[in-house]
Symmetry: D2
Subunit: 142 residues, 4 copies
């Protein structure tokens, strides 16, 4: 995972989202439970699409879904209850049926990266078969 | 909520399910986060149907869903990480389009009730319109 | 639950929070899973305290926690993925060791109430013993 | 991730856990939400320790915690509501302050691997400082 934030493909743009840590997201270690960072990744990529004038809701309505086929996350410094977080997301087109998003979760008070990760998504139709991304979606990544 | 475990309608049978508290279900207070008891209620009513030879999955496949329209829960003693819990569920038919489930979450090591609650469900079709419960489902409650 | 939004005690003020429905919060019925409304209640009461110049994080740091001892929620119209929600929260002092919060979850696009609920909290110290609310916290409710 | 189930270090033993997919764990795509597989990983490693005669609860009580510092998961075939899953977990000692767990989530009805993943954990004391694993814990991995 050393090089997980180095892309072979040029990244189009980085979008920032915000989230405040909910009590529900903590665990008895007093920090955020590790699976919850993946939910913030989802918030990040949804906003990445939205800020390009597109919603994932619309994409689904058009019959295309982007299930995650791979995720990685590296935890660097724990986020805690009530922390104000910035989610920095960038997107990369891997092929006509694959996209990748890269994320950094940053504690705004300190600027420190709490976690960094990546998701890879397949483009499939409602029956689960591979489906080429619509041109207007591909264009968002370029 | 004093009388939430007293029914006007006779209850058919009580079904016991088991769950062990996951780390994910705790919060930084060192106990189970309050919303997670509702997930155990769901486990309880699913098993209640299953033990009657019926699965909620089948019910949905037949075009009927039972969304929750009301929930109550009373928290008596916190459940903790790794606790072995028993979920005691009973079901009551309120009308041809309403059912109720009552739950107790018991810590098996001590027999103490950690929480007690109730859900009320509407019977609706896939378009969200009220739909009379199929006879074979109604029969489960009698 | 008919009268769950009528208080015997006068309510001090109503605070509005916002949340957008995450994909993680939906279930296969295509709507928000019922337990997740309780997480928004938590967001609402945290903001209610914050807007009074107080944080729940500070309260905990001072040795007082407010575990939920009772919750009710009535589900009126399902919230869906990507919905923009307003959480309307008001607080009531029930006694020196009990507080209550009332909530409405409203879909901002339509103004329709998706769900309404209530939580009751005990004031306890870090050992779980009842502890009188500090005066500066009691004052927030008046 | 092609080789994520090939270890440089010999694995001691594989432990099987079971989980049934809860409605709460699905999303509106009709399959399990991707973050929830990480919760099953937690169930798996907890059982791996338990079957060695050790509980993670005891480890924490002794002042050592094992936070996740890295996770990977590859999603192969979606798990669905009510699926009966087997979680296959193996553990590897990476160093005196690092352990790794590898997981496969298998649908029991078909034997198909739904997802495979890995977590890496640091051994730290309650203040968050690196702490050598106790000998009796190290021994579990050998």
């Amino acid at each position: 995972m050393r090089d997980m934030n180095r892309h072979q493909h040029p990244t189009t743009r980085q979008v920032c989202s915000h989230a405040r840590v909910r009590y529900a997201e903590t665990d008895q270690m007093g920090v955020v439970y590790y699976a919850n960072y993946l939910v913030w990744f989802e918030v990040g990529r949804t906003d990445w699409l939205r800020q390009a004038g597109f919603t994932y809701r619309d994409l689904e309505a058009s019959g295309i879904v982007l299930p995650v086929i791979e995720v990685r996350c590296e935890y660097r410094q724990p986020a805690r209850y009530d922390d104000d977080l910035e989610i920095r997301t960038s997107g990369t087109l891997l092929s006509g049926v694959r996209v990748q998003f890269d994320y950094e979760i940053v504690r705004r008070a300190t600027g420190v990266v709490a976690a960094a990760g990546r998701t890879v998504h397949a483009s499939v139709d409602s029956a689960g078969r591979p489906a080429r991304l619509p041109a207007r979606v591909k264009d968002l990544f370029e």
